[in-house]
């Protein structure tokens, strides 16, 4: 039997501190769906996903009810579509099929309208990338991610230049909805193959046929635990570790049970602390609890580095396989503390860039002025990607140049995507640098063989 304190602690974590499982993401390989016919490829994709995932939502809800813990999202990730559609050139037909599947299964998001172009782009991959604005502006639940660099290959600057334009096109095509298509598009360095989180989830080619990856959440639990911690920073790190252990154990339990019921292999638990816009579910508030007047103050990067490290140390012991992005997320629009810090001028774009050097995953859900040029966006991408490549870590960019709005205005995305105050950015031009194209070579320390 457990002590009353233990039982009450668990119940309070769920009912008052917003502990939840953010997502069960079922990865489904589409490699066996490749044909040279658009129609046959779509038919095979439909049949395969529906045979594996038609019960995903129900199974997620059942586990949630039995354990008494919310499972907020049920998602699907698939093999990068550019690989599946290359033979038939049927990417636009596939996007319709995936959209239909997302609606029929009742899932929250489907990720994998993706391409891996970190070294170079084939002519077809260029065509695929140019279809992203149409794909994201005519669907609601489909997400896209593009890997433009790895520490081994360097940075494909042709792809970086193109992505600046694509982000702008996405913004324009959804100009009546605060450019929301950009919230479903991520540009990566060192993208991971087992990520359960959106918008960057896809199932890598090194993965099993069907695999369950789980992402936990729980910034509120860490914040509450720290409220009682009066010690020095070693004590703070220890407190975060112990709390992360408990949070992650729940993720491991859910991953095991979901994989058994879905007849899929048990992939990884992603240790990321994922915030939501709800009060009391904020990563920024953890940093402030450690001792900052506001997130963005000098000291923020150090606090975040410690938080990220302690979460990993606690989480790694709690589950069999850790993967995905695994670190603290700092999306601006999805975190009440980040939103406030931006509004009062405490948190700048440049400070966010510095913070991404010590945590996962990058410049995330940042609204920028609608008149930002494609070249400036490519410059933002290049800077962030360089941080990932040189530090041998995953970094990403998900910025939203909100059409028709300027710094100080607000963009409303709704739901988990939240509200974003539009941030001021440095608008000096990097055009000459971006238009050079080519590839930035891999850093010296990546040559380890």
């Amino acid at each position: 039997m457990y002590s009353s304190n233990e039982i009450i602690e668990t119940i309070n974590m769920i009912s008052q501190q917003h502990l939840d499982v953010r997502t069960i993401t079922l990865g489904i390989s589409l490699l066996d769906c490749i044909t040279d016919s658009k129609q046959r490829t779509c038919d095979k994709i439909y049949d395969k996903i529906m045979s594996k995932a038609s019960n995903l939502v129900k199974i997620g809800n059942d586990i949630s009810s039995e354990l008494g813990i919310p499972i907020v999202n049920k998602r699907i990730s698939v093999t990068p579509v550019s690989l599946i559609s290359a033979a038939s050139k049927g990417h636009l037909e596939i996007i319709r099929t995936l959209d239909k599947i997302a609606e029929e299964t009742g899932i929250d998001f489907l990720g994998g309208y993706s391409a891996l172009v970190h070294k170079a782009m084939t002519p077809y991959e260029r065509e695929f990338l140019l279809s992203i604005p149409e794909a994201l502006s005519t669907t609601n639940k489909i997400c896209s991610s593009i890997n433009v660099a790895t520490s081994k290959a360097g940075i494909n600057m042709d792809a970086v230049a193109l992505m600046g334009k694509i982000v702008k096109d996405c913004a324009y095509l959804t100009r009546d909805k605060d450019s929301i298509a950009c919230a479903k598009l991520v540009v990566f360095a060192n993208a991971v193959e087992d990520n359960p989180f959106m918008a960057g989830a896809f199932l890598g080619t090194g993965e099993d046929d069907t695999v369950v990856n789980v992402g936990v959440s729980g910034p509120g639990v860490v914040k509450t635990a720290l409220e009682k911690c009066k010690g020095d920073l070693t004590d703070v790190a220890e407190c975060i570790k112990q709390t992360a252990f408990k949070i992650t154990r729940v993720g491991q339990l859910v991953a095991k049970e979901a994989s058994k019921r879905l007849n899929a292999s048990c992939g990884i638990v992603d240790l990321s602390l994922a915030p939501t816009p709800v009060i009391g579910d904020s990563v920024a508030h953890i940093l402030e609890e450690i001792g900052l007047e506001s997130v963005g103050a000098h000291g923020t990067t150090a606090c975040l580095a410690m938080l990220n490290d302690a979460v990993k140390k606690g989480g790694i012991m709690a589950c069999s396989n850790v993967g995905g992005l695994s670190g603290a997320f700092i999306p601006v629009s999805e975190d009440a503390g980040m939103i406030k810090a931006t509004q009062i001028g405490a948190l700048s774009f440049d400070k966010l860039e510095a913070m991404t050097a010590v945590c996962s995953v990058g410049l995330d859900m940042i609204a920028i002025p609608g008149d930002t040029t494609a070249d400036v966006i490519s410059g933002i991408i290049a800077d962030e990607i360089a941080i990932g490549v040189v530090n041998t870590k995953t970094t990403a960019v998900r910025v939203i140049p909100v059409y028709g709005k300027k710094a100080g205005d607000k963009a409303e995305f709704g739901g988990l995507l939240g509200t974003a105050p539009i941030m001021n950015i440095n608008a000096y031009s990097p055009s000459k640098f971006i238009s050079r194209g080519g590839r930035i070579p891999a850093p010296l320390h990546s040559n380890k063989n």
């Binding site: 457990y2 009353s4 009810s65």
Partner: protein
Amino acid sequence: MKAIVSVIGKDKKGIIAKVSTALYEMNINIEDISQTIMQDYFTMIMAVDTSECPLKFDAVVDKLNALGKETHLEIHIQLQSIFDSMHKIDTDKKGL
């Protein structure tokens, strides 16, 4: 399946009677009970076995939630495995 029923609320007469009657009506066996008063709040923890209960688990959750509303108490039922996971470090167990 082994589960934990927790009841939290202002202390008053008949709490144990009402909860245990509801469990009896659903053919759920009570294996252990502990109760305590924490910060003026009555807290009761019951370890139960639902294996002979004819209802689906979500129906049991709904019934106990309804009883909680009716009696102004917070009543939860959760599978034991979530507490095992969080509070015990030992070898992983199969299933829930």
